[in-house]
Symmetry: D2
Subunit: 388 residues, 4 copies
């Protein structure tokens, strides 16, 4: 078991990236409900992300989504972020919201559409260069709705070709994370439906291609901590898109649906040295806040990740190993659940106080007047959203 100082040190060294799009409006196919104060451009999203970081001390970067966050001068955007204490994180290309992409992007049967999609991916590497981003986060909406609609195999070939082109374009300090998703927005096949497919492509590409695990993108019953462990073992875990789900890709706040699952994932990461300084695993949120207030929801989500991690750091590794070696099923299980049952909120509050933060970041947000200010200032213009 780590002592309290170690736990606090590990948590202070664990960055949790928030996504620019979570500050904008989002919703379902049935309705996007708008909220007052929502940002209207990338700069305002950066401002909200900086606010989350100021209050939590744990969210020092913000992921961009292109073209939703398109600006004239990405160097200027990066500078604006830096001025507010955060950095630009992963760049997320979007090749699914143009009419040309109805039947796919890099997997489309028409080579002209594939070329267009590839150009956008390459443009995103330019943006990485301009912003200092080191991660290209690739999710493709490509897939089909009906058996026979397109050749599964031909689409794999097209996908591999595009990935190889992008991989070759990466600079020496850049990497690409290849995300997968079981279904949606296509409902018969997705061209990257599971970690195995992402993994096979990443192996073929090389060491700077790694798998991105979105916690909401799996089939029912999938044991996420297991595949995380396997990916660590084979050297291909690039990072996470955190959120939570009860049914499908529900994009709820991380830890809201099943906090014990989040703890188990964190336990595997603690165990393999992926938590703390020097970790190369990227921790990124990827969520929607359809009903709840957005900035506080992101603060709450950062806290949820910290609490799960703190509990994982409380696991008595020696006692666990001893019980496992003895085949003592109940004792080994109890080591894990004892850590999970621990109330880590006081320790986290103390940690925040020690670094000059309010011990309760959500309350601090409500007391700050920030929400009132953005609601007053951000009138007129077009609220940012998914742009569907």
């Amino acid at each position: 078991m780590n002592d309290h100082a170690d736990i606090k040190a590990a948590l202070r060294a664990m960055p949790i990236e928030t996504p620019s799009w979570a500050y904008g409006n989002s919703g379902t196919r049935f309705k996007v409900f708008t909220q007052p104060g929502v940002p209207r451009d990338a700069y305002e999203k950066v401002a909200d992300a900086a606010m989350v970081h100021r209050l939590t001390g744990a969210a020092p970067s913000v992921a961009l989504h292109i073209p939703w966050d398109r600006v004239d001068d990405y160097t200027d955007l990066a500078r604006a972020a830096k001025d507010q204490g955060i950095a630009i994180g992963a760049i997320n290309p979007n090749v699914f919201q143009d009419n040309d992409y109805k039947l796919g992007s890099v997997c489309h049967p028409d080579p002209a559409v594939r070329r267009k999609a590839l150009d956008h991916l390459l443009e995103c590497v330019d943006i990485m260069d301009a912003t200092g981003s080191t991660i290209l986060s690739l999710w493709f909406a490509d897939g089909t709705n009906y058996a026979g609609q397109d050749s599964i195999a031909a689409r794999q070939d097209r996908l591999a070709a595009a990935l190889a082109r992008v991989y070759d374009r990466l600079g020496p300090h850049q990497r690409m994370l290849v995300e997968y998703k079981l279904f949606e927005p296509h409902f018969y096949t997705m061209d990257l439906p599971d970690w195995g497919t992402s993994y096979a492509h990443c192996v073929a590409l090389g060491e700077r291609a790694q798998v991105l695990v979105d916690t909401g993108h799996h089939a029912p019953g999938t044991n996420i901590e297991f595949l995380v462990t396997v990916l660590r073992r084979f050297g291909k875990l690039g990072g996470f898109h955190f959120n939570s789900r009860n049914y499908a890709d529900d994009d709820l706040m991380v830890g809201a649906a099943d906090p014990f699952q989040l703890f188990r994932i964190m336990h595997e990461l603690v165990r393999t040295g992926a938590i703390g300084a020097g970790s190369e695993v990227a921790f990124m949120l990827d969520q929607c806040h359809n009903l709840e207030a957005k900035v506080p929801a992101l603060i709450r989500s950062v806290l949820n990740v910290q609490e799960a991690t703190a509990k994982a750091l409380f696991v008595d590794a020696d006692a666990l190993a001893a019980a496992q070696a003895n085949g003592d099923v109940l004792a080994a299980h109890a080591v894990l659940t004892d850590a999970f049952s621990t109330d880590v909120r006081p320790l986290l509050a103390q940690m925040r106080t020690e670094i000059g933060l309010d011990p309760d970041p959500v309350a601090a947000y409500h007391a700050s007047g920030y929400q009132q200010r953005i609601e007053a200032e951000r009138v007129g213009g077009s609220q940012a959203g998914w742009g569907a």
Copy 2:
């Protein structure tokens, strides 16, 4: 086993209602791809529905969705439909696309919102009166995203109160069908998530409240033909919203994902006398055509239902009963699969020829010039869509 004449007679007496919204644009939360020629108002949707009926002879009514299909004069809309050979079918209220409905409609914690939603439901009964519709088709998007967000029990009480008010408003020849759905657009609870909840409310309401089964709205592994049989046994099967799914509520064309399942459902309906003249079970499509051409997709869907029904009518009921009574598992199963393996397309083509239709309605559509005409005529204005 029915003879061919009986099979054709049963199919000729089986109406399959198409939904007005399937003629408009639809999509996912990520993107709605538009298509040329899509209707711009309820009259144009009625025209498309009439075209499907002219070619198939099997789709004599069209369901409306309010407010998507709002018109000044519903009597006039009904007359326009009748002039083209079809009738107005079920009326589907929409209480999920107004900003007020973010936290629910009839289950909302605020009584003012509940009243607004109820008023809309009652208005839809007025529209039933004006159009001659006999079915009020109720689906509520109500639910919550997070544990604790609202009281599950209080929401049930609010739901029951609203349903009772609407029930009391129904005329003697009208009925309400209460639909359920496991998840989406809410992801922790839906206030009507399963057939059991719909059933319990319908029993409390009375005989003119019945359960509406949407084939895409179940948990993985749910045996739909089983619950259909149970609902028939307890007298509460009101009708279907047909579509198909591989994962969730994918809203693909009925029969596209699992044609054997559709056949098994139809077998249970044939067995209980729900197919053919006098059936009180309503057969309605409820689908999206995000990628494929809309009118041909609806024609194809009508044909899929007919093919599954024809195969079900081919089941040798006497042989089946004998094998079941003998406990001969393989023989009983083979009776069903023999019927399913039968190629019924020639019989259906013959049936169409006999009633003056083209034996291949899809080919007839492409040969008709209708698509070219609507693409040419329907320019300008705003294409109909889900309005999210």
Copy 3:
């Protein structure tokens, strides 16, 4: 929020019944691994159950399974239980382990088999009379493996007829709980697959027929606390078979797979007055301990239920209602998660100390020498098991 004294009082008044079969050997279709010290008859199971009660103070009854627990004199067995401080709880008939039941029991196509099954059910009511049991717990393995194998509707009729016969036989202080299960041991249909089917039959039977919720028997994604709330609302929640699952009916220790789910279920029960003195909801464990030591696993399971219930009792009901009324999604959710994050183990330890128990029942078991004694004494004879 309840104060600590109220919480402890509520927990002290909450009986958790253990099942006799959990003390015997169990396993999967692939292998039943045996354990030393396992009981060889009903009396030894009762002794183990009494030991669990002595250490936890919370498990004052043991459920029987007939014929696994068949004895010559049930009155004597009840007396033996009473002498050790516990009572006989629910009686569970078994109509699935005789060669005659291959195609079903009360739903079998052959009336002679149905009669045999019915006789066994009625015999179990006799055993209720002899033991003082008030609950007949009905689970039927009946179902089919292949489409067409038997008539779904005819089997429903046979089921209804048998249930009615048993219902009529019940004494005034006895009730029957009707359990359901999605699948296994049949894999196409189960004759009682979901709560809706159980509910419909219970409504037809009368007020002494209620639904039994086994937490492991649902389709993936089913929201159990929702259906529990609905069953409470409609007056038909009879009780629980507690266990936990990751995939199917995995029969793991309750609370092991998803402790937050167990807490949410308990919250709904607390909210509706089903916890504490006078509750008519029966709390029963129904688990397997294939790998782990059996008596300690049952102790641990009782503690898990108590911890989840204690957390539910910590929910600040007033704050929750206020946040819900305000539509404050994040605040309402936080009321629940704050209670869940609370470490209730110290309070529970204190409660045990106050009533003269060891604060750590698992440690007390290991210190007691009981396991060594039963391993030494229970040699020879035939270990109890599922008898498959």
Copy 4:
């Protein structure tokens, strides 16, 4: 589209292996129902398998399961098979039915148990040498039931070490197929839960290690034809264990639950040249016949695979490619469904007649008197079964 002669030629060149264990008794954890005439040893299983081949002309080999099929002289068993017209197929080691294997076999925490399991695997390669078998079919029941029970990562290391030892032992004409399964008999982790984990290990091992796809071993919603295509593309599809499922690993007859799925899988195999002479993909049944008569169930299953394959051979590949290239979703889908709607039973009957077989193998079985003979002869002794 292939012409009828080509289709018949392809089917005649497609061997479908039956598993010895499917001729024995099987069941669920709740009950194994016995059947008269069931084999009592490996020789009688071989006789039944030979009967299936005589009637279908399509099942020229039988898989063995060790130790269920342990004999003194495997060369003699192979000769007995050859005398009856079939060969010994894949060898399936069993390292899950010894008390030592409670916590695993090659992944067990105790090195002595791992060594014992490894020895058995190596013994099975000896049996391959003796019988001429070229396939070692590896399925491990290894896993855990509770979070923390054992180290996921350490178990992966142990697994990799054992696989490497077995791989090194293989002769130049032998290969190992590595199967995976989502859950059962363990319910928290399986050490090989999905195709990705099997694939990663096979890549590390070398070209004679390939993935074995059991159609029943996936999470709900998994698109099996997709992963089959990906495995073909990356050169790692070794073969199939065919069966069908509605819920979990239900082990029903192949094609019984979803014939359209089986057709889609076969379509991908036809498309990539895996059907017909020279294919290196092994087609093996792996099923249970708990309720239905065993030999006829296996005949029926062979026919189901042939029918699905024949339909796949009916797909008009040119029309499909043209529609896909045009992005004509409905037309491309219709090419597939037209082939599926074709009644191929007459063609298959004709093919059988042409090679001297009865056109209806199931009827031929019932007319043969074989069942009566085995029921009369196989009395006394111990019926073969899973031995759980």
